[in-house]
Point group: C2
DNA sequence: CCAAAGACGTTATGTTATAACATCTAATGC
DNA sequence: GCATTAGATGTTATAACATAACGTCTTTGG
C-alpha cells in the first residue's frame, strides 16, 4: 500500500491529459507538474509555494511559469482558485463540470469540494429574480471540518 | 431633488454611527470617510482607489490608513469584501446581519447584495452533511445586470 | 522549407496587503 | 487634576500576489 497515493496520482494525471486532449489542448510538463502538486497537497496551495516547489527541479522558473500553468488549469476546469485565500486546489471531478461549493477548514486548511445542483439552481433563480444573468459563481465557506471540530489535534498546521 | 443622494448619505452615516455605538465602538472620521466613499460609489471600490480619494483631503494618508478603516467596517458588518475582485462595498442592510449574495455585473461593475436565508440554510445543510460547521460564507456571482443584459450602453465603464 | 500558433524564458513592474514601531487621544480610576 | 491604559492613528518599510512585455523555441500544417 506504500505507493497507493502515487498510483492514484498517475491515474489522475493520465485522466487530466486525456481531458485536455479532448479539448484540443495539451497537458505539458509544466502544467502536469503544477497539477501534480495540487493533487498531492492536503489542502490548497499558493502560487508562490508552487513556484518554490517547481524551482527545486527547475531553478530558473519564475512567477509567470506557475501563473501560466494555473491559468491553464483553471480555464480547463482541472483546478479552482479559492478567492478568499488567493490559493488553488485541484478539482475533484473535472470530467463533470459543476458549480463547486468549497468547504475550507480554518484549522487544518483542508478543502472539500461539493456539488449541489439544487443550490446552484436556487442561486440562479435569485439572480434571475433581479434581472441578473449568471455567468460564473463562486461559493466559499469557512469553518471547521469534522476532524477539527471533534477536537482532533493531528491536522493542525 | 438635487440633494437627495447627499441626504441619504447623511442618514446612512448617522445610522452607521449609531450601529457602532450600540456595539461599543466608534465611527471615527477616517472610518466615516471610507464608508461615505463606499456608500457613494456606484459599484465596488478598491483599497488603493479609496486611498487616492482620501489623500485628496489628507495627503499623508498611507495604505494602513485605509486598510484599518476597511477592516473595521467589514468586522462591524458595515461593508463587505468582494474576494473575487479584491474590492469593497457598503453593506445594504447592516442592521440586519445576513448572509449576503453578491451579484457583480461584469460590464457596469454595479454590485447588488441579496439575502436569501433559505439559500444560506441549504448551504449550511450541505456543509453539515459532511461534518463541516460553517463560520462564514461568501457567495459571489458574476454576470450581467438587467440594464447591461438588455443592451443598455449607459452603464459601460 | 516556411509560416503561424502555442508554449516557454526572462526581466521588470504593477497591485494588494501587512509588519513594526512611534505617537497621539480619549476614557477610566484615583 | 493626573496617571494609567486601551484604542486609534502616523509613518516607514516590506511582504505577498499577479501581470506586462518581449524574445525564443518548438510544433504543426501547407
Ligand atoms: Zn471542481
Ligand atoms: Zn480541519
Ligand atoms: Zn450586507
Ligand atoms: Zn451592468
Amino acid at each position: 500500500m506504500k505507493h497507493a497515493h502515487t498510483h492514484d496520482l498517475e491515474h489522475d494525471l493520465l485522466a487530466a491529459a486525456q481531458w485536455c486532449a479532448k479539448r484540443g489542448e495539451k497537458l505539458t510538463d509544466q502544467r502536469r507538474e503544477v497539477l501534480a502538486l495540487l493533487l498531492s497537497a492536503q489542502g490548497s496551495m499558493k502560487a508562490y509555494d508552487l513556484l518554490a516547489e517547481i524551482q527545486k527541479q527547475r531553478p530558473t522558473a519564475a512567477p509567470p511559469t506557475v501563473y501560466r500553468a494555473l491559468d491553464f488549469l483553471v480555464t480547463a476546469g482541472l483546478a479552482h482558485k479559492l478567492e478568499s485565500k488567493n490559493a488553488f486546489v485541484a478539482c475533484c471531478d473535472f470530467e463533470h463540470p459543476h458549480h463547486g461549493l468549497m468547504l475550507i477548514c480554518d484549522r487544518c486548511h483542508k478543502v472539500t469540494e461539493l456539488s449541489d445542483e439544487r443550490l446552484a439552481a436556487r442561486l440562479a433563480e435569485d439572480a434571475a429574480g433581479h434581472g441578473f444573468s449568471v455567468a460564473a459563481q463562486d461559493i466559499e465557506v469557512r469553518g471547521l471540518c469534522r476532524n477539527c471540530r471533534d477536537g482532533d489535534t493531528k491536522g493542525a498546521a
